[in-house]
Symmetry: C2
Subunit: 336 residues, 2 copies
């Protein structure tokens, strides 16, 4: 956020084009999230809080009614990522006791910035903790994109890989291409190539093949929401990978800031799952690939039950999914 | 085969274009298989035997040395589908005791035709047996294309669905799009639409989502080779679907003519797995979708261990994968 303008990478143009989008209105903020110009749970959270601060700045006389209306518009842009709600709640909690319009504008902006700074720091710490799990020579598998693009910096799932690589460990990453939107082939591959980390893109169907051959040492993904019981919602297909990894004795780690854990959500069954447009499946890069006359179903996320998850890597350390209650929700960071 | 010319649907043009290709040379036969103009285990077998008969017809004086050379060229076009070897062996067994050139030509052609006719009849019977497993209202899931296009008629995995539909059962089919080559979205969806069978294309990643929700009653796929112990090689991703189905208590059936069972192959570990060009993953319909600078790995098949398979539907009935030895290899058909 520079002045009152939000700058962000236009993710749906990558990897073909690296373009920075400038966003000046609430409508554009909401549109950037719902159309996935900005995607990835922590990045959605960051766009949400900046969008809220920007809208408040642009109000004639900000008051509770107007602010809640904006919050609701932003909240509805995508249903599954909990960071969005968490971030909006955080900023709201800082401003709702204020009545002076200028103070509200200033506090909204400052709290949005501190939320985003804390989110970046959380991702770095996730990398430091996650790195302790990775041995020299390990082959990792990841699904979708939980890298710098999906967050504010470092990424979640890619943060341990980055830190391991920086620490001189020789690693290799199997990158699930992640249909339907191909965030693995487009974004994760792009990031790993930029960082010089060895990797290969595979069809999502091939993950099990390499697991069964003993060629995958660990699965690490991000998540859009963790329920209180340790169930994890993430990009469609994560559930399949976790089940097959579990069947092959391969550890499955989920990398997420505490802000992605929804302690008010008892189980994965309570996490809303977004259904997206069927054309994301029927088309690739805007060109029809499926047979004409057929329709598609397109759930964007699935839920992986806690029993398939070895650990959740957070900025406070690595937790067994069954012991999330041990986490200090006050946190050691401003967004805890 | 009309006269000495082979006619076949050009499958890699579907669903955009329905085109019949005419094939007059050994080079074109081999090329049609290796580039997947013709694909699907039984269809590959049919093309192989017709190609062998055609090449023998075109020989000046067919003899064992020349015929074995042709056989070897055809055999090497694709390594995983056992029907190819089985069909070639069948025709070879009929001609190698002959020495009269005209008799060799006639017998090669007749035995190729009877092999293909028996293959079509086997597929029809697979449908009749498979139909007994399907209840009115069932929701089925299939992977890749094992329909009429992959065989000579009826298909293998799609044959029970066709017969159930003909018998008035109301069924619904989840069609895995089947990356990287999208045979599900392109070919299976095309066939089901033609037949008026209710279906929806899904990203391969979404199969587990619907299984976990209890919305899949049965998985039916084809196979490229069944080992003697009941392990099954099929299109990449079949293994993942079978493991996740098994985890959810969903029966997994493999539909295959006896000609796809390789009784000389002890286990799935002994089945050769084809690795195909990385551009099948990096590109879609010839357009690059993955990030530049990244490479891909592209195993075309995987092996599903027998323990995940409920039954193998053949033209002799439905067998537990552990009891394939009960099958009459002499068979009740000419290609048994």
């Amino acid at each position: 956020m520079v002045g009152n303008t939000i700058h962000s990478i236009e993710q749906n143009k990558l990897p073909e084009e690296f373009k920075i989008i400038t966003i000046d209105s609430l409508e554009d903020v909401a549109n950037s999230i719902s159309t996935m110009i900005i995607r990835g749970a922590p990045a959605i959270g960051a766009m949400g809080v900046f969008g809220l601060a920007q809208a408040i700045h642009n109000m004639d006389k900000p008051n509770e009614e107007k602010i809640i209306k904006v919050r609701d518009i932003l909240f509805k842009t995508r249903p599954t990522a909990y960071d969005l709600q968490h971030g909006l709640d955080y900023v709201m909690s800082k401003i709702l006791s204020e009545s002076d319009p200028d103070a509200i504008k200033r506090i909204a902006r400052d709290s949005a910035q501190s939320y985003v700074d804390a989110s970046a720091e959380a991702c770095r710490k996730i990398g430091v903790y996650g790195d302790t799990l990775i041995k020299d020579g390990d082959k990792l598998l990841t699904h979708c994109n939980a890298g710098a693009l999906a967050t504010v910096d470092y990424g979640t799932a890619l943060s341990p890989m980055r830190i391991a690589h920086e620490n001189g460990k020789n690693i290799f990453v199997f990158v699930d291409e992640t249909r339907p939107r191909l965030q693995g082939a487009k974004l994760t591959a792009f990031e790993l190539h930029q960082e010089g980390i060895n990797h290969a893109v595979i069809a999502d169907n091939a993950a099990g093949f390499y697991m069964a051959r003993g060629e995958v040492d660990m699965v690490i993904t991000g998540t859009d929401r963790v329920a209180a019981n340790g169930d994890v919602a993430n990009k469609i297909g994560t559930y399949e990978k976790a089940v097959v990894a579990h069947e092959n004795g391969i550890p499955v780690y989920i990398a997420a800031p505490i802000s992605t854990i929804d302690f008010t959500c008892p189980t994965g069954n309570d996490i809303p799952i977004e259904e997206r447009d069927e054309n994301e499946v029927l088309d690739v890069n805007g060109l029809r690939v499926a047979s004409q006359g057929s329709s598609a179903l397109n759930p964007a996320f699935d839920v992986t039950p806690a029993k398939y998850i070895t650990g959740i890597i957070t900025e406070q350390g690595i937790f067994n999914p069954g012991e999330l209650k041990k986490i200090n929700q006050g946190g050691d960071s401003d967004i805890g």
